[in-house]
């Protein structure tokens, strides 16, 4: 079992698809991951399962890979009614989770905005560019840079999950460039495809951060580090100015009201 633990998850699933199904049953969604080079050891570690769950999971994986091996079943089974525990974040991480809320409100509006673009005669370039400004300034510069420049620096930057996060941020930037190009050219399909792709990417990305990455980082931080990160994030926010988050909150409220009226008209 030891050497399986040190194998890349994608390779394990490729040779034994059953493992993917088992992981999914335990709420570990490695199958759709585009990279999949995390080691099985880290995949299990990062999800912080309780000891019973973890030993049941390892037993089932081992059984799936080596059906002929005689492996003793762990005594305690997977408890059916194990309720998902509420995640408690350290203050600086909590601030980042709260920022996700505003980003998710924009993501929620994207399908409506896309519909509006597709059905209007002329592309509303101004609206698209204002959304892009929100994404580039609030989501990327204000939020993602705190992750990249501060928080992620406190954990192993070569960890696969951190690499995936950097890659997501980059992929997102690519989609946004395409949206801008679409708006410049008046190419509705280009706007639609890339806006929806951005929405899908960021939705999954934020879910991964809230549920897996941030709690994993929090578990590794010392009290001193929590204080340091809190101070650095506050300094970063202060240099951006108090007006910045307020300006973008106002923007979100504005487009929510605008499109809510469209719908109820």
């Amino acid at each position: 079992m030891e050497n399986v633990l040190n194998k890349e998850i994608k390779k394990i699933i490729d040779t034994c698809p059953e493992v993917g199904k088992i992981l999914e049953e335990f709420g570990i969604g490695c199958v759709p991951c585009s990279i999949g080079s995390c080691l099985l050891r880290d995949v299990v570690g990062i999800h912080n399962l309780n000891p019973q769950k973890e030993s049941t999971l390892m037993y089932r994986i081992e059984k799936a890979i080596y059906p002929d091996r005689r492996i003793s079943e762990p005594k305690v089974g997977l408890s059916k009614k194990s309720t998902p525990k509420k995640i408690s974040y350290s203050p600086p991480v909590k601030k980042l989770v709260d920022e996700h809320v505003l980003i998710k409100r924009l993501l929620a509006m994207i399908p409506t905005i896309v519909d509006y673009v597709m059905t209007s005669i002329k592309v509303d370039k101004d609206l698209i560019l204002r959304c892009v400004d929100f994404i580039r300034t609030y989501a990327d510069k204000y939020h993602h840079m705190k992750e990249e420049d501060i928080l992620f620096k406190y954990v192993d930057n070569n960890a696969e999950i951190i690499q995936v996060m950097y890659k997501d941020h980059d992929t997102g930037r690519g989609y946004v460039r395409q949206v801008v190009e679409g708006a410049e050219r008046g190419n509705k399909n280009q706007i639609k495809e890339n806006f929806l792709a951005y929405r899908e990417l960021l939705t999954q990305h934020i879910k991964k951060e809230d549920e897996i990455l941030y709690p994993w980082i929090d578990r590794q931080l010392t009290t001193t580090q929590v204080g340091e990160i809190f101070r650095k994030c506050n300094e970063s926010d202060a240099s951006a100015g108090n007006a910045l988050p307020r300006k973008y909150e106002k923007f979100i409220v504005e487009i929510e009201e605008l499109f809510l009226q469209e719908v109820t008209k």
Binding site: S88, T223, T224
Partner: protein, 153 residues
């Protein structure tokens, strides 16, 4: 049985030692004097930029590994929210620790008895009065020296 749980008599002398080791000597992790909240000055060099532990008096006796797990690497102030007088002074000192000594974090460690939560209240008040913001953590210790909870507040 009624009355204040903070002063209720409980005897767990029958409790047998479960784990841990008594071998070896453990050096003190205390790096300052004084420690009592009325005696300490927020301007003392040992507070500047540090992680500070505000400990209810009883916690040090209840916890077997108080030095190793809680004092190590921190500066400390101790107080009893039930018996100490002039507790407004504590609120002001906490405010000064945050604003003037620019401490990095504040950890408040208390016993599980209800009156001990007064110390968390004092810490919260001081932190709210301060203009700087810092992370504040609450640790609750059970009567038998077990950690009941550890949360950022």
């Amino acid at each position: 049985m009624s009355g204040c749980p903070g002063s209720k008599t409980i005897d767990f002398s029958e409790k047998t030692v479960q784990e841990g080791s008594e071998s070896g000597k453990r050096p003190s992790q205390l790096r300052q004097w004084p420690i009592q909240m009325h005696l300490v000055s927020p301007h003392a060099p040992y507070f500047q930029g540090k992680d500070v532990l505000l400990a209810a008096d009883c916690t040090a006796f209840a916890l077997g590994d108080f030095h190793k797990d809680y004092i190590k690497g921190k500066s400390i102030g101790i107080a009893c929210p039930k018996l100490d007088t002039d507790q407004e002074v504590y609120v002001e000192k906490i405010k000064a620790l945050i604003d003037e000594a620019k401490i990095n974090t504040l950890t408040v460690i208390i016993m599980q008895v209800p009156c001990c939560f007064g110390l968390v209240q004092i810490a919260k008040e001081g932190a709210e009065k301060a203009t700087r913001k810092i992370p504040v953590k609450q640790v609750v210790v059970g009567l038998e020296g077990n950690i009941l909870s550890e949360d950022w507040i």
